[in-house]
């Protein structure tokens, strides 16, 4: 009798572990990959919106010795100002990698390409990342039932100043009394 119970218990533990592992794998898959279509390999993504002639960063940086000290940049990149993005708590090397300038850096230390920047943003903005992956946050263009194009976070939000700028509205409709 005790034997049978032991076997049952082992079996249950085994089942729950494998279920847990599966769920964990699904979760990892969700956080690590771009949105996917069932029909074909992936969506089209336009290249990251670099300033003209700035990439690859290593072009300039390879001759410099990296300085990990937090400071205000006074010689280069003076046009980049962190605004509305926790500028007090954060500076360049929280997202940009110290050694490989052509890569971004996650909190885990993993280096990622600029084309995968959504994983970097998703570290803090998990809810937006989840919505973006399912097509609620952000804009998708192309075919509603076929090949789509999605945009990286940085296409709409300036990563150094992510809040949307105000826009000039298009002209209001004419009042009916003015339509002849």
């Amino acid at each position: 009798m005790i034997h049978r119970r032991l076997v049952l218990a082992c079996f249950l533990v085994f089942i729950s572990l494998s279920v847990f592992e599966l769920a964990e794998a699904a979760r990892r898959e969700f956080w690590l990959t771009p949105p996917k279509l069932e029909s074909d390999e992936s969506y089209m993504v336009p290249p990251p919106p670099f300033t003209e002639g700035i990439f690859p960063c290593s072009e300039c940086h390879k001759e410099m010795t990296p300085n990990p000290k937090r400071r205000e940049l006074t010689e280069e990149h003076t046009n980049i100002q962190l605004k509305n993005h926790a500028e007090k708590e954060r500076w360049c090397l929280d997202c940009h990698d110290l050694k490989n300038r052509d890569k971004l850096r996650l909190v885990s230390g993993e280096q990622i390409d600029f084309t995968e920047s959504y994983r970097l943003c998703g570290q803090c903005h998990g809810d937006k990342y989840r919505d973006w992956k399912t097509g609620i946050h952000g804009k998708r263009t192309g075919q509603w039932n076929g090949k789509k194009q999605y945009l990286l976070c940085a296409h709409c939000h300036n990563p150094h100043n992510p809040r949307f700028k105000k826009l000039q509205p298009k002209p209001p409709p004419m009042r009916p009394e003015n339509i002849r």
Partner: protein, 308 residues
């Protein structure tokens, strides 16, 4: 002169000669337009309701319209009659927490769907509402014109045809010139519409618009990719409305509607309600959603939602 003869001078008497003369004159005027290249006047006059047409009849009509429009707008114009796709029911989502009221969608729609520029017709109306009042249509403003949007303390709600599942507008049409297709799009046959505007009175969303004048559509701005029930050039005296850009969406590899593609903040979502993996289903299942004037039981397929 006898009394009888005297009376004849004042009373009109139809004689055989006069009747034949009148008949000849009548037939002559009927044939006249055929000479100056607008034979289509009579062809369109005797055209049947679009839903009663057979395949070959439709082809003849589409070819006639293509010829007519190509001549008028001086470029090759295509008129499609693409039917609904099986297993598709279109739905639209609009994110009220994202919309900034910039009206890009309004003008994107005008360009895509060949609306009249003068007199002006807009299928999309953007309402400005006060945040403290919520969705209170009585205090909405559609003529707002600040230097920049969004404005402090306001939110914006674009309204267009809601493609109701239970549309009040189609029920009141006395000639059945408007109906709901099986993919949920409510359409108008501009050739059958008599312009009585009952449907405009019946629509609770103000989504239907009337061509009081011959639509002013400059040839250079005319979009030559058209659909018979959608964005083809309209004649004077008919009602028109949003069709979810059926000339774009009703294809096996259908494009998103034009208003969605121009939205700078990604507030607009579109897809197949019958596909559980579609974006619109995702929105309905996971976000706070409401439909406008739910109490009227029109069952719109246009869903307002808040993504945050």
């Amino acid at each position: 002169m006898s009394d009888m003869e005297k009376r004849d001078e004042h009373v009109f008497r139809l004689t055989r000669r006069k009747a034949l003369k009148g008949l000849a004159l009548g037939i002559g005027t009927m044939v006249l337009p055929a000479k100056d290249a607008s034979a289509s006047v009579w062809e369109s006059f005797f055209q049947k309701n679009f839903r009663e047409l057979g395949k070959s009849e439709r082809r003849v009509i589409l070819e006639r319209l293509e010829k007519e429009y190509s001549a008028r707008y001086k470029k090759p114009v295509r008129v499609k009659d693409t039917g609904p796709i099986e297993g598709v029911l279109y739905g639209y989502g609009l994110d009220l927490s994202r919309c900034i009221g910039c009206r890009r969608c309004v003008y994107g729609c005008v360009t895509e769907n060949n609306q009249s520029r003068d007199p002006q017709i807009h299928w999309i109306k953007v309402l400005r509402l006060a945040k403290e009042r919520g969705v209170d249509l009585e205090h909405s403003e559609q003529y707002y014109n600040p230097a920049t949007v969004p404005e402090e303390g306001h939110f914006y709600m674009p309204v267009q045809c809601h493609q109701c599942e239970n549309p009040p507008c189609t029920k009141v049409c006395p000639v059945q010139a408007t109906w709901k297709e099986i993919d949920g799009i409510v359409v108008v046959d501009y050739n059958w519409c008599i312009g009585c505007r009952y449907c405009m009175a019946a629509c609770p969303y103000g989504a239907r618009h009337f061509n009081w004048k011959k639509p002013g559509l400059p040839a250079g701005e005319m979009n030559p990719e058209t659909h018979y029930l959608g964005n083809r050039p309209r004649p004077v005296g008919v009602v028109e409305k949003c069709t979810f850009c059926m000339q774009r969406t009703r294809e096996p590899d259908g494009m998103y509607p034009a208003c969605l593609e121009v939205c700078p903040v990604g507030a607009r979502k579109f897809g197949n309600l019958l596909d559980p993996t579609s974006e619109i289903r995702n929105v309905i299942e996971n976000k706070r959603v409401f439909i406008l004037k739910e109490d009227l039981n029109t069952q719109p397929k246009f869903y307002y939602f808040y993504s945050v």
